[in-house]
């Protein structure tokens, strides 16, 4: 008797399940595996990359290799940017610091994040390069999977922007835009705007021990023309990067950030 009841219940459940399945809407198709690290994207056939940037890199050293992106000779700023530049020069003449936003924990952003003289860990995959500066662990992503820049109407502006890379012979050419102009500077008193556009031509030298990047910076809201720089990094193989955070209570003990020498 018990066995007969159990069989009847099981049959009813199967029938009910079939009914529910017939009534339920069709399941949506799974999303396209377009993410940089999706298995399908990684598995797509691609030409072999000419070099692998994976490693830790530290800017500095050598001649003509400043960590700054100072305006070139004969530069011309827009009137809006000139106001900041003049204020910064006035502060400098008074031994003061003009709007040192990085010291107040704002992100350094591109291009300065590349030359903060803190090591940068780079991890290269066939579809993407992740760059993590030890300085505030700032993340920069360079897509290599052939995607175009995002729709400007949906992209979220950021301090490091959106970087799209492509191989040109033995050089990686990276195009970056969609920056925020919020507390973002190219040099002291030189504001970056949301029109900042950076092209980098990257290649290793000296058997992969030196990394060279040629920069072209344009920002028609801040200056006229194109500013060009060439900078170099050395490979670091004796230390890893660590967790680094800028904290309000840290700054309470930093005389350089809380001093009255700071001009806001």
């Amino acid at each position: 008797m018990i066995r007969r009841v159990a069989f009847a219940c099981a049959a009813a459940c199967v029938a009910a399940g079939a009914f529910i399945a017939a009534q339920a809407p069709a399941q949506p198709a799974p999303p396209e595996p377009t993410a940089a690290l999706s298995r399908a994207n990684l598995a797509k056939p691609r030409p072999k990359a000419p070099f692998d940037l994976t490693g830790v890199w530290l800017h500095g050293g050598g001649a003509d290799n400043s960590f700054r992106f100072s305006p070139p000779a004969g530069f011309k700023l827009t009137p809006a940017a000139q106001v900041h530049y003049d204020a910064a020069r006035k502060a400098q003449a008074e031994n003061k610091v003009y709007r040192d936003d990085i010291g107040q924990c704002w992100p350094a952003g591109l291009p300065l994040i590349m030359t903060r003289v803190w090591p940068i860990t780079m991890m290269q995959y066939p579809t993407v390069i992740y760059m993590i500066s030890e300085f505030m662990n700032s993340l920069r992503i360079v897509y290599l999977d052939g995607r175009p820049h995002s729709d400007p109407d949906v992209v979220v502006p950021s301090w490091n922007g959106e970087s799209i890379g492509r191989w040109e012979g033995d050089t990686l050419v990276v195009d970056t835009k969609y920056f925020t102009g919020h507390h973002h500077w190219v040099d002291s008193g030189v504001p970056a705007s949301d029109a900042l556009h950076i092209v980098e031509r990257i290649k290793p030298l000296n058997d992969g021990n030196t990394l060279q990047i040629e920069y072209e910076l344009t920002d028609p809201k801040s200056w006229e023309g194109t500013w060009k720089y060439t900078k170099r990094w050395r490979r670091v193989e004796d230390r890893d990067i660590a967790e680094v955070s800028c904290l309000p209570d840290l700054n309470d003990h930093m005389p350089t950030t809380k001093s009255g020498a700071n001009v806001r």
């Binding site: 530290l58 500095g60 050293g61 050598g62 290799n65 960590f67 502060a91 400098q92 031994n95 003061k96 610091v97 040192d100 990085i102 010291g103 107040q104 903060r116 003289v117 803190w118 030890e134 300085f135 505030m136 002291s188 030298l205 000296n206 021990n209 030196t210 990394l211 060279q212 060439t230 170099r232 990094w233 050395r234 490979r235 670091v236 193989e237 004796d238 230390r239 660590a242 967790e243 680094v244 955070s245 800028c246 840290l250 003990h253 930093m254 005389p255 350089t256 950030t257 809380k258 001093s259 009255g260 020498a261 700071n262």
Partner: protein, 133 residues
């Protein structure tokens, strides 16, 4: 000799500025001040380690000096450990002072109670400077 000393000074200036997480323009890098006091707090942390040192001012009143240091990876190369300073330790610190005269500055060196002198430059072994091809 004079040239070499100048170059060494210039390199220190560049390194000190570059390693800061902020501008050092408000600091007088041409001048050093040595103060003696009692460690109130020593924080071993990124992006800067720091010392709060309680020092008696000209009238004998306790004043806390905030002293900004390089991050631990550099201090380690100069012989530092997290346990090097403890609250209550009496030490002398040499620093580049804030231009405004506020009690604080950027660390140059410390003389510990046992007489050891440590700087914070991290002058350990370094890879060679990058060169253009």
């Amino acid at each position: 000799m004079r040239t070499r000393a100048f170059l060494a000074g210039a390199m220190l200036l560049v390194a000190g500025t570059a390693w800061a997480h902020h501008s050092g323009a408000g600091v007088d890098r041409t001048r050093t001040v040595t103060i003696t006091g009692v460690v109130k707090e020593f924080r071993w942390t990124n992006p800067h380690s720091w010392i709060d040192l309680e020092v008696a001012d000209a009238k004998g009143a306790p004043t806390v000096w905030s002293i900004e240091m390089n991050p631990p990876p550099y201090l380690i190369r100069s012989g530092w450990k997290a346990s090097t300073l403890k609250p209550g330790d009496k030490v002398s610190v040499t620093l580049n002072p804030i231009r405004t005269g506020e009690p604080g500055g950027i660390f140059v060196s410390v003389t510990l109670a046992d007489g050891r002198v440590l700087d914070g430059r991290g002058a350990g072994p370094r890879p060679p400077a990058p060169a253009a091809q």
